[in-house]
Amino acid sequence: MSEPRILEIKDVTKRFGGLAALKDVSFSVGKGEIKAMIGPNGAGKTTMFDVLTGILKPTAGEVFLAGESVIGKRPDQITKMGMIRTFQTIRLFEGMTALENVMVGCHSRTGAGFIACACRLPSGRREEAMIREEAMAVLKDVGLHTRANEIGTNLPYGQQRLLELARALASKPGIILLDEPAAGLNQYETGELSSLLSGFRDRGLTILVVEHDMGLVMEISDEIVVLDYGELIARGTPDEVRNDPKVIEAYLGIEA
């Protein structure tokens, strides 16, 4: 019996005019897995993320999140379904503290609307207290709780990346899509990130990560898929992929 797949991607194709950014890409991610999506620049990795999160509509193909189709849904709807992402360039909310940033992460799990908030109904206030508590807890998990009340965008770069991660985690997602989480981090910070992610995986989080730092990828991934020019050219364990001649050729442009 195979494990139920959290994320299923079937024959996804995305064309922009005459250019195919993604061509018939299929793979899936199981619960509690860390899967890495790698490939040279321009291979289509961020485009795939955009398709998965509803920012782009695929030209063809299907995407299922825990069995439910995701195509045609808005990003905020997909987040409510349990899939959340971080961004390649940091997109923290300016003018808001670290805590407030993370509290926005809880937005998808809460429901106090305009009327409830405008009239300060008790239900809204209770929810707000709960959000604050949970956000603090997530900040503790990533080690940022001491800087909760500082403006998010004033934090040092490495901590901003952590904050983005915390914000995404606050939504208690079924699967989290990380877009180059180690970009710009030094070796020490990358090591910290690695243990953090492994720790989360052990607690049941499913992760799909796009990353260029091969050290990190090899260390934490259960399985790797390789994209090149929009096509899936290889998949397997880190060792298998490392030795795959097609992968070597894609990255180095020479025959192995």
Binding site: R15, G17, T46, D50
Partner: protein, 321 residues
């Protein structure tokens, strides 16, 4: 093939067809009066075209929407009055001087007010140009009072007859000026280094500055050109419409709608937009109570923004994720 593209193409040709149909229908329905409406529409449309070009030029260089654009035209007309009627200068000299003065003003505005604000938000700069517009209107009211002023037509008032429609000679001056202006603008942007540089800067400011066209220069030249075009428009239409301190706002808004219709940032688009708007407006006035004709510009504006924000000839603005 991208389905979005072909839908846009159908929209484009569809709207061209609609405009053509409306024009033909008017001609059939009202005969020579219809022709008169169209000619008059082309006349005012040429003015819109000139004002619209001013908007587009400033927008493509600096992404600023200059709400004071109409004010340049108003000042052009008023100065023409002062120089030619009060000052009794010969028409041609008054024309040149009026345009030059307003052009200098435009450059001055850019240096003193706009340039220092280049890092401020869109809303702030918009309000500044609105402030400029209020300022210009107020100064005009102060200097020239509230009454409209009359300027003699450049070559008399005897109407010409064209297939049963009558055309005021001043209209020919309008057409002529517009043609010359369009040609000059075209030559500037396509044949001169500075012009080509500015076009490049509109697309890629960093690369352009590497070859010597800084955003500062672009901005200054853009404002100067826009002021000049606006002033010329204001001068040449003044004999037909009367110049008045309050003329700037309405003209600015219509010229703006024309620019959006043609495609903000596209000079040829501005011309097309202006002419189309002018014709549609006067045709509307022929069929509906005249108050509604002013609404045409805004209805078109909103339709364009909702359906095809880049206008007829503009390019879609890309938003990177």
């Amino acid at each position: 093939m991208n389905t979005g593209d072909s839908k846009q193409r159908k929209l484009l040709w569809g709207s061209v067809a609609v405009v053509a149909l409306v024009v033909i229908a008017t001609l059939i329905d009202k005969g020579s009066i219809g022709l008169q409406l169209i000619l008059s529409g082309l006349t005012v449309g040429s003015i819109y075209a000139l004002v619209a070009m001013g908007f587009s030029i400033i927008y493509s260089s600096t992404r600023v929407i200059n709400f004071a654009q109409g004010g340049f035209s108003m000042l052009g007309g008023m100065l023409m009055y002062s120089l030619a009627v009060s000052g009794k200068l010969p028409m041609w000299l008054a024309f040149i001087l009026a345009v030059l003065i307003v052009t200098a003003l435009g450059a001055g505005f850019e240096r003193v007010v706009i340039r220092p604000m280049k890092d401020h938000s869109v809303i702030t700069v918009i309000i500044v140009t609105i402030g400029l517009s209020i300022f210009m209107t107020a100064v005009a009211k102060w200097i020239w009072g509230t009454d409209p002023v009359k300027i003699a037509s450049f070559s008399g008032d005897k109407p010409l007859r064209l297939f049963g429609a009558s055309l005021v000679p001043q209209s020919l001056w309008v057409f002529g000026l517009t043609l010359v202006a369009v040609a000059l603008v075209f030559l500037f942007f396509n044949r001169t280094l500075l012009g080509k540089g500015m076009r490049a800067a509109a697309d890629n400011p960093d690369a352009a500055s590497l070859v010597g066209v800084s955003s500062s220069t672009s901005s200054l030249v853009a404002w100067t050109l826009a002021a000049g075009l606006g002033a010329a428009a204001g001068v040449v239409i003044a004999p037909i419409n009367f110049a008045q301190y309050s003329a700037g706002t309405a003209l600015g808004l219509k010229g703006f709608s024309a620019a959006v219709l043609g495609g903000l940032g596209s000079a040829p688009g501005a011309v097309v937009g202006g002419l189309v708007l002018g014709v549609l407006e006067t045709i509307t006035a022929g069929y509906l109570p005249s108050g509604y004709k002013d609404a045409v510009a805004f209805v078109i504006l909103i339709l364009v923004l909702l359906v095809r924000p880049q206008g007829l000839l503009g390019r879609p603005e890309e938003v990177k994720v």
